[in-house]
Amino acid sequence: MNLLQAVRLSAGWRRPAHRPVSFTLARGEILALAGPNGAGKSTLLAALAGSGARVFSGSIHLAPALRIGFQAQHLPPLASVPLSGVELLALTGARPQGLPEPLAACLHRRLDRLSGGQRQYLFLWSILQAPADLLLLDEPGNHLDKAMLAGLPSVLRARAGQGAGIVLVSHDAELARTCCDRLLRMESCDD
C-alpha cells in the first residue's frame, strides 16, 4: 500500500518552485530527491509535510492517519538552551537503542556542549526514530564526520526495514546511491 502519492505536483512559496513531478512511496522504500540548488527539493518536502509551502498544481494523497516525521536542513538555534540528548529524544518519542556508541555516551550532556556533528546526528536520530510512518529528511548528512556518514545508509535501511517510508534530499550522491531505492531528479521552473 502506498504511503504517499504525488500527481503532477508543483509546489512553492509565492510561485511554483519546481516543474511538476509524479511519484509514489510505499512502506519500506527510500526515495531520494536530487537536483541542483534551487530545484525545489526542500520546498517539495515542506509541501508533503503540510508545513506552509503551497501546492500550485497537481495533488498529494497521503495514507489515512499517516504519522510524519520531518528533519529540517538547519538546526534550531541552541545556544545556551539547557537540553540534554536524553531530553531531546524524549521530546520526539525516539528510542535511544541502536545509537552509535560515542553518541550514546554523550546523551546526558547538554546539546550546546556537543560538537556540531554530534548535535546534528542526535537531532537526526530524534526524528528518524520517532514514531512515524513517513520520514522526510532534508540533507541528513550535513555536518556529519566520515564515520557517522558511513554508518548512515545502514541506519536508514534499518528504519525502512521497520516499515517506514523515507523521502530524503541529499547533495551527497554516494549516500543517495547506497541507500535509496529510487531517485527523482527535480528541475526548477526557471530551467
Binding site: A49, P82, S84, E87, H108, R109, L114, S115, I127
Partner: protein, 276 residues
Amino acid sequence: MTDFPPQLMLFWRPGLTGAMLALLLPLLGLYLRLRQEYWAALAYGQLGAAGALGALALGAPHIAGGLALGLAVAGAKHRLEKRLPPAGLFPLLFILGWSISLLLAANLPGVERLGAALFEGQLYFAGTDMLCGAALALVVGGLFLWRTGRLLLLASLCPVHFHAQRLPAWRVRAGFDLLAAASLALAVMSLGVMGAFALVFIPPWLAFALAPGWRAALVAAPALALFAYALAFALALIHDQPFGPTLALALGALALPGALAMRFAGRAESGKGTAD
C-alpha cells in the same frame, strides 16, 4: 517554640501571594526565554499596569482592567506580529504601555497612588483578591505547563517536525501567550513592573547557563526565585522599603556570583578545548 515576628504574621496574605508568583513567573520565564520572547514579559507587565490604571480612571476594578488589556494584546499578538516588521511588537507595546501608564498617573489624581504602587511594587497591600488570583494563576499555569511543556519545547526546537505531526500548534501557542499575559498583569499589581520582570528574567537566565538539562532548569529557576523572594520579603518588611526594588536587588545580588561562575565555567570549558 519559636515566635514569628508579628509583621510576618500580619502579612501572611501578601507573603503567600508573592510566593506563588515567585514559583510561577520563573517557569514562564524559561519558556519565554526559549521562545526568545523575554521582551514580552516587560510588555505584558507594562500593559497590565496601563490597563489597571485605565480601569481605575473609569471607575472599574483595577485587577480586571490589567487582566483585560494583557489578555486582549496576547490574543491579538499573532495577527499583530504578521502585520508589523519583525522583532518590534513587544518593545513597541512596552513603550506604549509605559507612556500610557505614566500619563494616566500624572493627570488623574485618583490614579496617582496606584500608579506609584504599580511601579514600586506594594506587595504588602495585596488582599484576598490578589491571593486568590495568584493561587488560580499558579494552579492553571502549573497544569498548563505540565500538560503542554513538551509541546512548547518541541515547537521551539523542532518546529517543522512539530507542524508535520499535526500537533495543536494554535492551542499551545495561544494558551501560553494568554497565560503569560494574565500572570504578568497579576504580578505587576503586587510586585511592581520591574519586580515581576526580574522574576521572569533573572532565574531563567541563570538556569539556562548552569542547569545540566531542562528538568533541572525547571527546578533551579523557581528555587532560586523563591529564595530571593523570601530574602527580599523579610528585608523590605524589616527595613520598611518598597518591595519591587528590594526583590530586584536580591535577585541581582544572587545572580552576580552565578554569572561569574558561568564565566569561569566557560573559561574552564574552552581551556579543555571544544568538542569540535
